[in-house]
């Protein structure tokens, strides 16, 4: 019996479209990389001459040239660490609740709406909220603690989301295996789900750290534009200008004769720290993945 189905051939136009799409996507990716290299390269080139040990270890100057960024670099890292320490327990807890306990109903939808609203709140709104509530009403003034708490508000929704997503990505088979052996829900979460989700959560936390590191609006209004004269000053009540605030301040204030050079150097340091942070997450991710997958 001869078949009625003709011997189909892939049409030439389909082939061409396939190639063309491949080429177009490759060009878009290339443009992206080129823009990024140009951008990062430009910042590093501008700031390169400023990058020396003296710049990193001197105190800033208010009126004269030759100031450094020692306390700003310290404050940036200190504030990121404090805000993460505040945001992690809340974000992780909320994420675990949403993924494992909230079910699929109305409670989950409401909770998700709250998290998304907080995530979408412009940072200037959080900044003013922090300033009115913490700096003024509670009388915390422009300080490390006002900055850390307000910055944590920025971090919480991101950590919550990434925790929830990572936990939802845990294969159902592994959870069933655990429950099937007589594990309780808590045991399953602690021994199976969280270890598996760890790399995803870690990546999210480091990205959050990067965002917090670069944040300026919130910190201008809560941590202020001054630094303590002691170093290192771990007190929570002292003002804590960060690198990004410093960058903004020296360029807009205009009293420093070498403001342009200081800004270029500060920007270069920030970029380098962020690159180091990204490198770190890669290494940690690989190490954890080897142990838990």
């Amino acid at each position: 019996m001869t078949s009625r189905v003709p011997a189909f051939k892939v049409r030439a136009t389909a082939r061409v479209a396939d190639r063309a799409m491949h080429l177009a996507l490759w060009l878009i990716a290339l443009t992206f990389v080129a823009v990024l290299i140009g951008f990062v390269g430009g910042i590093l080139k501008e700031g390169w001459s400023e990058l020396n040990l003296g710049f990193l270890t001197r105190m800033p100057e208010a009126l004269d040239a030759g100031g450094g960024i020692k306390p700003e670099l310290f404050n940036s890292l200190y504030l990121v660490a404090l805000s993460l320490a505040l945001a992690m327990p809340i974000g992780l807890g909320a994420g675990i609740y949403m993924a494992e306990y909230a079910g699929q109903g109305r409670a989950l939808r409401f909770f998700r709406l709250c998290v998304e609203t907080l995530a979408a709140t412009p940072s200037i709104v959080l900044a003013l909220f922090g300033m009115i509530l913490l700096v003024q009403m509670l009388g915390w003034s422009f300080s490390i603690r006002s900055g850390a708490v307000t910055l944590a508000l920025l971090n919480i929704p991101v950590i919550t989301r990434v925790t929830e997503e990572s936990l939802r990505g845990v294969p159902r088979e592994l959870l069933e295996a655990s429950y099937g052996l007589g594990a309780t829900k808590l045991q399953t979460i602690l021994k199976v789900a969280l270890p598996y989700a760890a790399t995803g959560i870690l990546t999210g936390v480091v990205l959050t750290a990067g965002r917090a590191f670069g944040e300026s609006a919130i910190l201008v209004f809560t941590a202020g534009t001054n630094v303590s004269q002691h170093f290192p000053d771990f007190r929570l009540s002292v003002p804590g200008e960060t690198l990004s605030v410093h960058l903004w301040y020296v360029t807009s204030d205009g009293t420093l004769p070498d403001a342009t050079q200081i800004a270029a150097g500060t920007a270069a340091v920030m970029i380098l720290v962020l690159l180091a942070l990204n490198l770190l997450v890669r290494l940690l991710d690989r190490a954890i993945r080897r142990r838990t997958r």
């Binding site: 294969p171 159902r172 088979e173 592994l174 959870l175 069933e176 295996a177 655990s178 429950y179 099937g180 052996l181 007589g182 594990a183 309780t184 829900k185 045991q187 021994k191 199976v192 598996y196 838990t292 997958r293």
Partner: protein
Amino acid sequence: MLSPQTPETKPVKLSVRNLDFRYGEKKVLDGLSMDIHAERVTAIIGPSGCGKSTFLKCFNRIHEVSSAVQVSGQMAMDGVDIYRGGIDQVDLRRRVGMVFQKPNPFPKSIYENVAFGPRLFGVRDRATLDGLVEDALRKSALWDEVKDRLKESATGMSGGQQQRLCIARALAVNPEVLLMDEPCSALDPIATAKIEDLIGELKENLTIVIVTHNMQQAARVSDYTAFFWLGKLIEMDLTERIFTTPRERMTEDYITGRFG
């Protein structure tokens, strides 16, 4: 294998009466009743979607981990209702182990996979754990293959080894019943033969219920066979009778490949 000439000497381990199972609006299981004997292998066969896998999961209530289900009727183990008899779900799952369709070892070492269950129940002592791990791996005929690489990741093993590891992991908490949900469907014939041999050995002191879509497998490993169709139990009898002289026309049509 049990033959029609020898009388059943083993007590009933699991008894099911008028079991209905609803998932939302849909009735998945409809009025099932059967007795499952201790230290026997009971196979459940039937076309895809007949509810055999759902039925299996009723024995350890693992559905209830992720979704709300409605079960009515009675399901008892050693005469105690496992839904209303005051048995804790978590305790039930320790007593009624499960092996899944796809091998699902944890992304941990071979040793840690087997030790996972005992650790849940508070076993900390290294020597005790070592003993339990070795014992479970021997029972699942895996010890000789893995004794020198217990620290290696379980995900690097072959599919058949992974499935035997999952059996070892289930055995390590000393269950009374072992549920197997198409345990060989992802395995090649050699690995399948090893699992089938293992089932024959394990039934010495375990009650085994196995769901399979492979009728030859049911014929090879089981003492009893139950045929399901559209959520109903059509026929259950000694495997030898089901495959030679079934009472129902529908059973005969299914096992001879006329539908399904």
